[in-house]
Symmetry: C2
Subunit: 474 residues, 2 copies
């Protein structure tokens, strides 16, 4: 197992990963703005960082993983929907509904919850304290009871635009239409608002914090400055992450994070998915565990595999066909695991298993090349099939090794649950009873008694009457 | 269907339930202090109020249900465990772990999440504002940067002890050992603490809010004064709910809530379950969906039924035997539902079904007499069995009515999931393959082809080789 290399957006290079503490990794990921059902873009972010979380734990790091919930900035969106579509009483209830839906979807997608999931609305004091410090250090100004970050002032000491590689000289810095802002790049830290449903008391009066302050305040609160990994979608690089960096720098003269990891976007049938185009694909609509045998719905693990098959820095092209293909691949991967479990070892191995195990680690260590890792799992699958077909053989040491590696990567690290069934058990019990009734109607009591004994071991009792049979839990 | 009557702790009487708004019910329930795994007491509270939530919705009310998470007052408990048993980095991670566990357990117990689940740590600004108002109105005093509620002052205008029926004259009101408090009944609103890991800035310096202020501030924020229902365990009547009432009264000269519902405690093998006795029964230890056929673990729905079988104002006696009995009863109730579904109607009914349907509503309307309701469901069960055994008959109108009523009460209102299996599907598929292999080994290809066709309809393909058969998803 070699070292892990991560493509750092800050340097635009793959860098060897060295955490600040050799047993500990501190990671912050920008979570969802909760205003609608979880879509395929939310799933991409959650699943990709879940694999990083799982892999770092596999490397024996204790990972301190913070992913936030943005439940203040959703306010503008919610208030547009009248009284929340006449279903919800207020903003908090509306937000909670979408938070619950989000959690529910991630649970089905087998995403492990982060160590801490802070809510923006729950960290008002921390945001106010950060704004006070920025004002104190001279990087913010107050206008009409709102507070703005002063980019020009900041740029006199630091450089704004390091992460996005933008030169602010190329932007008009004055004469902006917004009369409150000095420069057009300046962003709001605290927004004065007496009429908002969502407002808190502050040293500047009633209002609410700006979006960029949320993440900056919450990440620093739980992880301190200069933590190991900051993640998010690449649409957040500018201005959100740039603004987070500048707030933390102006407070503590220190960096926010060391490694910046950004995943790419999702394209739906050739068009970028976006709120404005209203073309979001909601997970709830494509996910239906109860109907995996119907063509129009997908198993959660197919969606997970489909997302992971795409390199995180590439665009995902979502289409019916692509996800149906993932379902076929998912089945192959699971069947292979079932074959490995039941394989009989020989005296010798005719294939090089150490090599493929190395290749698994090399793939994921190379900036999380998960698509390559999945290809290697398929390579292992072919090897296993050739052993099953007696074209090759495997000794007991290799068998144990490959079984462990395959399970570790597929189940533990990629997070593919090996049991993709759910809740259809009654159908199968009914089928067994049915088969037995058919056999019984032909007076073949030998087989019907055989079935009765077998199903009893699974805790089911069969009750025969003249015309039919019923079943019962023992 | 008659009117709903609720035993109101405030009046110690059953009162007709009339919400403030005839379409709306506002309900607040004190949620868990998250410091350990969810125990049977947490389950009792969550399940009982879940049935109230479900029943009020069944009565066509829109229910606005707030249940909080107490994640500040757990600090004293956590800090005693060293660095959180060397597993957790800090208080927030430790709390989040227990919040996740709590949610996970409630999900398994089929408890519907409340409309809003506010965290105490997420409502510091609201608590500070409430304390400021109490000070402004003259009912609190500041000592060494801590703030205390002044009971004697409050009692000059209002009466402290209305809910618990305690007369504060019977309590020594001075010379208390705590030098900061004027009287021993005074309670802390804001605790000065510079050294706590958990602290926020406030007008009185760094510190944290007192327990009683949490619920008062959060319930009022989301529900306003004088909301419909306030619930909790009867151990909270004094001092917690008394203190909540007095804070709200001293702020707004108004009541906190109209109907006060308190459930009783849980006794473990004859001893009251308590933190100090360290005899808590954790749900995770008795709940194991995967092992419902082993004697030592219980199905989640057995636990739910067991809790509901006890009247909420009575003590629950938890024992192995009691919960095993609930499992037997659960099976009977589910089997009855399966029988009703398949029953054939006659031309006439020989039993009075309207009467038992009335009895169901009368039971739950009489201060949520759920044990009686369950008895009536068993009465229906007997009627159904007698119809199945041709001792009685039912016409189509009654059949439709009783099927709907039975399902509504058992599934919708009591929240008993009718599918108590989980994740054992592979065993049943393997069994079908096994039965078929046995039949095939005796060259009975007629039956084996029959089985192949039947299982194909469930999405399973059987692959035969010379020596054995494998299965595959289609």
């Amino acid at each position: 197992m070699r070292n892990l290399y991560i493509y750092n957006t800050m340097s635009r290079k793959k860098e060897k990963f060295i955490p600040g503490n050799n047993k500990y990794v501190k990671m912050y990921v920008c979570g969802p703005t909760v205003y609608n059902h979880a879509h395929i873009g939310h799933a991409r972010s959650a699943i990709f960082f879940d694999v990083i979380y799982r892999y770092l734990q596999h490397l024996n790091y204790k990972v301190y993983y913070v992913r936030n919930i943005t439940d203040i900035q959703n306010y503008n969106i919610s208030s547009k929907n009248g009284i929340y579509n006449n279903i919800f009483t207020n903003h908090a209830e509306w937000s909670q509904y979408h938070i619950n839906q989000y959690h529910n979807i991630l649970y089905k997608l087998n995403v492990i919850p982060p160590s801490i999931e802070p809510y923006a609305s729950g960290h008002i004091v921390d945001q106010i304290e950060m704004i006070k410090l920025i004002i104190k250090n001279g990087y913010a100004y107050i206008k009409n009871n709102s507070v703005y970050f002063n980019i020009q002032k900041y740029n006199q000491k630091f450089i704004y635009g390091n992460l996005s590689k933008r030169d602010i000289k190329n932007y008009v810095l004055s004469n902006y239409k917004n009369k409150e802002k000095i420069n057009n790049l300046d962003f709001v830290l605290w927004k004065n608002d007496n009429n908002s449903e969502l407002k808190w008391n502050s040293p500047w009066g009633l209002g609410l914090p700006g979006w960029h302050t949320e993440c900056a305040a919450m990440s620093i609160k739980y992880l301190g400055c200069n933590f190991d990994i900051h993640g998010g979608g690449n649409d957040l690089i500018f201005p959100h992450h740039e603004a987070s960096i500048s707030q933390v720098k102006s407070c503590y003269n220190n960096n926010l994070a060391k490694y910046w990891i950004h995943h790419n976007m999702v394209v739906i049938n050739g068009t970028k998915m976006s709120k404005s185009l209203n073309n979001s694909v909601f997970i709830k609509d494509i996910l239906c565990n109860n109907k995996i045998f119907q063509k129009k719905s997908y198993n959660a693990m197919s969606i997970r595999l489909f997302i992971l098959k795409n390199h995180y820095r590439n665009i995902i092209h979502f289409s019916d066909q692509n996800i149906q293909q993932s379902y076929q691949e998912l089945k192959k991967l699971i069947i292979t695991y079932n074959i490995i479990k039941n394989l009989c070892p020989s005296n010798k191995s005719t294939l090089n298993f150490d090599q493929v195990i190395d290749q698994c680690y090399n793939a994921i260590n190379d900036d999380f090349n998960i698509p390559l890792l999945i290809n290697i799992l398929f390579k292992i699958s072919k090897m296993i099939h050739s052993i099953q077909n007696k074209e090759n053989c495997i000794n007991d040491i290799d068998l144990e090794k490959i079984q462990k590696t395959y399970f570790t990567f597929l189940h533990d690290i990629l997070g593919i649950s090996l049991n993709i069934f759910n809740e259809n058990i009654n159908d199968f019990i009914d089928l067994i009873i049915n088969i037995r009734s058919e056999i019984r109607s032909h007076h073949n009591y030998k087989y019907s008694d055989f079935i009765r004994e077998k199903i009893k071991k699974l805790g089911i009792e069969i009750l025969d009457s003249k015309n039919d049979s019923k079943w019962n839990l023992i």
